[in-house]
């Protein structure tokens, strides 16, 4: 091994146990982020018998023996065109500052010896980043995250699964400007790497990804275009350069109740998309999500608890002569109308409370609950049963994509809150089917902002951040501006990843620990390069990762253009055929001709829920029996708005 530099120390810039300075030739492969080794004694950088120190270059300087710029002006006689005519080049220096990554032996901790400096090789990189402890152990937990490519090297860098997915530490946060930081690509590659390298002794793992922007995550099962360099990197990292083998994509329905609300509607692919629809029960459990800060009070909470405990799903007498069994939004609306009518008519308008609940509180809760069925029609069904994720049967190494890109923001919050809460519940009970779940949330600054109201979603994200690692519930969050995300959410992320950053963002206090050179590199980071902080790495490390092996969203919609919404009959046929390829379209169309669309939707939902062997026969049966929600036979009621009243405070 050939020395590329020499440690130097002066009284003004001494070597310390955590930092040292060295010089190199003017023409050197060393740059910001390069990992170097200082060997005391021995030959060829072995450090035999002496101390070996690993460091990462954090700052670089170049200067000459020019005492003052004025001398250069004098030498060129004030003529810039003559400045380069000098026949002799001034003596120059390349002077670098490096932060210590590791010292061996680790005790006693001493200043860095003034030894020769070498470029780190693969083994050195493993040592420097303390990867040897989890890379070469009896039960390795190494997850490749990219290649360290500084100083002309090409060394794999690994994260420790125990610190990425728990239980020691967990969560990953990735920041960077839109488009250039390749946050989504980085997460896609890392998921592929985790699926390939998650150690068997740690059990089964799955990922749940919320697609909140366009078609970003809609084509994870389709192969993308990879360059030879990308394939070489996959080979080097021992990660298959293939799209995800198991992807389950869920999307809510559109307002028509049959067409899917997603950009993955190309005829060749739409069959793989599962509808995501929820009914009243699913929504009421997360009613808090629907209430804004002004709404949250003890009275509203008490009334929601009352509904949940005493009314929903039970036979309930309203005290005005009507017995209710509330199982759908339509049932709920009837219930509210009955109570309000009861107060108006039966009580003669003299009372404004019912069962200790004020009418204004009831109106507020009623408005919030029923409003969601209007704003998120397609996700929330008025009266149909739900179509949901397989909460008891998550599969190993499977990505569950929930496409809520076109859902109302309130509905996105609801989906997010419910899915994450259910994941947590199932993991606590060990009934999810996997031991760890990675939840990927983009636009984290929207869901867990550093300032703003304490929403249910934010509280839930804080809870995952602080306690999720014990359960195996791991948050992979991405955002453009890390400084705008709640400190406890980013602070609890054991692994921090940075793509290209905005200079204004880098000027915020959170980045004070970085040197100006590192900030400058972050601000100009090329696509595919990231800076990583991980509990085992004492300093940030720059790595390159290959382009993800999947079809990018915008490429996906070009290759598989979304289909236009199909007529109701065709949409029903498509869904039934997806469940059973033996189904003949004409038979279905004959069956549903002259039938109420709501009846057909309910029958379809029943088929989806039951998944019978003979789909057409079952569909015919439930349709013929005029499918009703569970037991009660009733006619459909849309949810009409309430008559405004003058003193309505909401």
């Amino acid at each position: 091994m050939t020395a590329i530099g020499k440690v130097v120390a002066t009284e003004l810039k001494p070597a310390t146990p955590h930092q040292f300075h060295f010089w190199t030739a003017t023409d050197t492969s060393v740059g910001i982020g390069a990992i170097v080794k200082v060997a005391e004694g021995g030959t060829g950088g072995t450090g035999d018998g002496g101390r070996v120190v690993y460091g990462v270059v954090t700052e670089g300087f170049a200067y000459s023996d020019l005492a003052t710029p004025l001398h250069d002006v004098v030498g060129a006689e004030g003529d810039p065109t003559r400045a380069d005519e000098a026949p002799t080049a001034r003596q120059q220096i390349r002077y670098w500052t490096a932060a210590v990554l590791r010292q061996t032996p680790e005790e006693p901790l001493q200043p860095v010896p003034l030894g020769q400096v070498y470029v780190a090789d693969d083994a050195d990189v493993a040592q420097a980043l303390r990867m040897d402890t989890f890379l070469f152990s009896a039960t390795p937990t190494a997850i490749p995250v990219g290649l360290y490519t500084s100083a002309g090297r090409d060394s794999p860098v690994y994260l420790d699964a125990d610190f990425l997915l728990g239980p020691e530490a967990a969560h990953l946060n990735i920041s960077g400007v839109s488009g250039l930081a390749t946050k989504t690509s980085a997460v896609e590659f890392l998921l592929a790497s985790i699926f390939a390298h998650f150690p068997a002794h740690k059990g089964r793992v799955a990922a749940v990804c919320f697609n909140v922007k366009g078609p970003d995550l809609c084509f994870l099962d389709q192969p993308g275009d990879l360059s030879d360099e990308d394939r070489r990197r996959y080979e080097r990292l021992e990660v298959p350069s293939e799209p995800f083998q198991r992807v389950r994509l869920y999307a809510p329905l559109k307002a028509d109740g049959v067409n899917l609300n997603t950009l993955r509607t190309h005829p060749d692919l739409v069959g793989d998309v599962e509808p995501l629809t929820w009914g009243l029960q699913e929504v009421v459990d997360y009613a808090e999500v629907l209430l804004n800060r002004d709404d949250i009070d003890a009275k509203a909470d008490a009334f929601i608890d009352f509904l949940r405990d005493r009314v929903l799903g039970r036979t309930f007498d309203d005290g005005f002569g009507t017995t209710h069994r509330v199982q759908t939004f339509a049932d709920l609306d009837r219930f509210f109308r009955a109570v309000f009518d009861g107060l108006e008519i039966t009580a003669g308008g003299r009372s404004d409370t019912w069962r200790t609940h004020h009418i204004a509180t009831m109106r507020k809760v009623r408005n919030r609950l029923l409003n969601i069925s209007t704003r998120c029609k397609g996700l929330v069904t008025d009266d149909g049963p739900s179509s949901d994720l397989p909460w008891n049967g998550f599969e190993d190494r499977t990505v569950y994509v929930i496409d809520i890109a076109n859902v109302d923001p309130l509905g996105q919050d609801l989906v997010f809150a419910r899915v994450v809460s259910r994941l947590r519940e199932q993991l606590e009970r060990r009934e999810l089917g996997v031991d760890a779940v990675i939840v990927f949330v983009d636009e984290l600054n929207k869901y867990a902002p550093g300032d703003g109201p304490e929403t249910y979603v934010k509280k839930m994200l804080l809870d995952i951040s602080e306690r999720g690692r014990y359960l195996g519930l791991v948050l992979f969050g991405a955002e453009q501006f890390r400084s705008q995300v709640h400190r406890r959410v980013v602070g609890n992320a054991g692994t921090q990843v940075f793509g290209r950053m905005d200079m204004d963002e880098l000027a915020t206090p959170g980045y004070q620990v970085l040197t100006p050179a590192t900030k400058s590199k972050l601000a100009t980071l090329p696509i595919g390069e990231l800076m990583i902080r991980h509990p085992h790495f004492t300093q940030p490390i720059f790595v390159r990762f290959p382009k993800p092996p999947v079809l990018r969203g915008r490429d996906g919609v070009e290759r598989f253009p979304p289909a236009a919404d199909v007529p109701f009959e065709d949409a029903v046929v498509r869904q039934l055929v997806r469940l059973d390829r033996r189904v003949r379209p004409n038979q279905v169309k004959d069956l549903i001709a002259d039938r109420e669309q709501d009846d057909v939707r309910r029958a379809l939902a029943a088929v989806r829920r039951t998944r019978p062997d003979d789909v057409l026969a079952y569909f015919r049966k439930v349709l013929g029996a005029r499918v009703e929600p569970e037991a009660l036979l009733r006619e459909h009621h849309a949810v009409p708005p309430l008559n405004p009243i003058s003193d309505e405070p909401y």
């Binding site: 023996d65 020019l66 005492a67 003052t68 001398h71 250069d72 004098v74 030498g75 060129a76 003559r82 005519e85 000098a86 026949p87 002799t88 080049a89 001034r90 003596q91």
Partner: protein, 322 residues
Amino acid sequence: MTWWRALVDAGAVPGRGSTRDEVEAGARADLVEGNELQTHPIPEPRIPNPVSFLNGIERWSVVAYDGVVQVVNAYVAAAVRRRDATGGLHTTFERSRGFAIAPLDRMTPMVRQALEQSVADVESVPSELVEQPARYLEMIEATVRRARARMERELAEEALDDLAADEWLVIDGLLSRSPDVARHPRALGVIKSHGAQFLEGRGLERALTLPAGYRTSVFAVRGGHTRTEVYSWYLRLWPWEGNDLLYGLLRIEARAHPDTVARASALSAWLWTERAPLATPATRWDRLLYPLHHVEEYLKARAPRDLQQRASRMSRLPRLAS
């Protein structure tokens, strides 16, 4: 207004400070270019490539006393650094010598034995001046200077043997110390000190008031330090007006050959371009070519730490812990 402003207004040239070079023995010069020493403007420069530069350093310090006998630790070094096409300098030849200087016959047997056992290279000097410390130290200085000159001469001869077909060797100091070097067609001596006077009368005045970017006529130099005849001329790098007569003034030595006369202007133009980069922070940067300064800095950096600074310039205060 100062009183000397009136002199300037009356036609005098403004000055500032003065350069006092050590006066050396007189020498005789015979003009070989024209009948009278003239000033010649220099043409457009053409820089030869490659070029090697030779310089040396000397260090010494009294390190022990055997009674009144001062025992000296001395170090001399010289190096040749070749300039490549990118303007960078790389060492091609280098030599150094660390030695002790003492009047061995005046030393006590025990100290002398210790000296001879611990130092491989001891140069004995006469003991007559031991009781006169100031003159003794002058002798020591001359001894060290001779050692340095000898080393530079040997290194120059070695470098010239290895010189490429179109390569030049520029030496800091006299060319005429070595006959081989003095006769080489592509060796130049660059002299910054002007203690030795070669001209007189009108010729001297023209030389001392030479404008920047001009050279004098070529003359042959004999006597003084000179052992071999060489041709020489003066070259002004920077305007002396506003400074002093010797400011930016170099004397160039080259082999005594008609070609030298023919090439004097072209060589002057080349050396004139060597003004940049400035050899700062050296105090004599106006006369010191940067590559020669560079070689000196290189040698200084490699000199033993305990001889980095001349003892006479060091603080005599007790050394503090910090």
